[in-house]
Symmetry: C2
Subunit: 202 residues, 2 copies
């Protein structure tokens, strides 16, 4: 429309990525509904008007926060492991190991935002709960796909069940996130990860 991105008018007084990061932390800590616009504006250092002009509404801000989380190390380690590791077992071992280290890390809120930020919502925000549920189920799908591929490639025996294995590891990881939020240490989670991997078919 305006051709070159010529800037006109008063420039924003805040760094969009920085305030989005602050919002992400808050949603990560408390969850979607338990975090109010007032909480957000206080933590982001901006006023409601600026927030709505920059991000739309609370739901849109949350979805952007989830995207930002997904691009951060803590949010991206599963996809990275699935992509980079040579074997499915290696990928799973790495995911469990990294989850055990990341979930209780005091440098950020405990556990996984995708797992815990929209467990309790009112009917009005069912859409938000569904948004995260779909992400979790998509992740489960990625596990299943990787395991199916491993079976085809001969890494996994013919009588193993990729979907069952994927669901099992998804449950373990979600449980580890919850345990981290309940105060589990990295040591405890490392032990859980090690035991979980024992279920891998001979």
């Amino acid at each position: 429309m305006t051709g070159t991105g010529a800037k006109r008018g008063r420039p924003p007084a805040f760094d969009r990525a920085a305030v989005l990061d602050a919002a992400t932390r808050l949603f990560w800590e408390r969850g979607y509904e338990a975090t109010s616009i007032c909480d957000l504006t206080r933590a982001m250092g901006i006023k409601p008007g600026s927030l709505y002009a920059a991000f739309g509404d609370k739901k849109a801000l949350f979805k952007e926060a989830v995207q930002a989380y997904g691009s951060s190390p803590v949010g991206a380690f599963m996809a990275a492991a699935l992509d980079e590791e040579r074997t499915a077992r290696g990928a799973m071992a790495r995911i469990l190991r990294e989850a055990a280290a990341a979930y209780p890390d005091p440098a950020h809120p405990a556990g996984c935002l995708t797992i815990s930020a929209a467990v309790n919502v009112t009917e009005a925000d069912d859409e938000i709960a569904a948004y995260l549920r779909d992400l979790r189920n998509a992740n489960l799908g990625h596990f299943t796909a990787r395991f199916t591929e491993a079976q085809r490639a001969g890494e996994l025996s013919k009588d193993a069940e990729p979907a069952a294995l994927a669901a099992y590891f998804a449950a373990v990881i979600q449980g580890m996130s919850q345990r981290a939020r309940d105060g589990a240490t990295a040591d405890e989670l490392r032990a859980t990860a090690a035991l979980a991997l024992a279920a891998w078919p001979t």
Copy 2:
């Protein structure tokens, strides 16, 4: 004070246990903060005045609901298994099997109330979140105690780690609850339970 329990005045028009059950269902479905007093009075079939007279306030009602849940089959099966099964492994196998059946049962809200009803709360209700977290950690303690006893009795080898094993199974169970709320079937959860038990020390 009044000696015999002679009834005086207008009798209550509702069954206390029945309306508490309705409240429990609602909290189980949506969680603590996402369930409003208005939602509760509608489902319980009573007015705010009656609710407050009978249960105190929202927090007290919730705690009574948690107690009621803990006395129901779905809330009590873990304690029953730990108490009734001869071996620690047998108890854990039964717990996993029964969780797989109970958590996705459409006869009631999915998953475990204790695990999922206070994940997202505002600062004002941190007490409620702590209340459920303590219940979960106490449950982990029961697992640890049972496994330690099993090790003493020779069922579990000397080099097994009761606390690590307990934390692992606690994580799996919490993950199964979450998976049930995400739509996992009883079949999926049964498979998860079977795989989880494979981690039991030789």
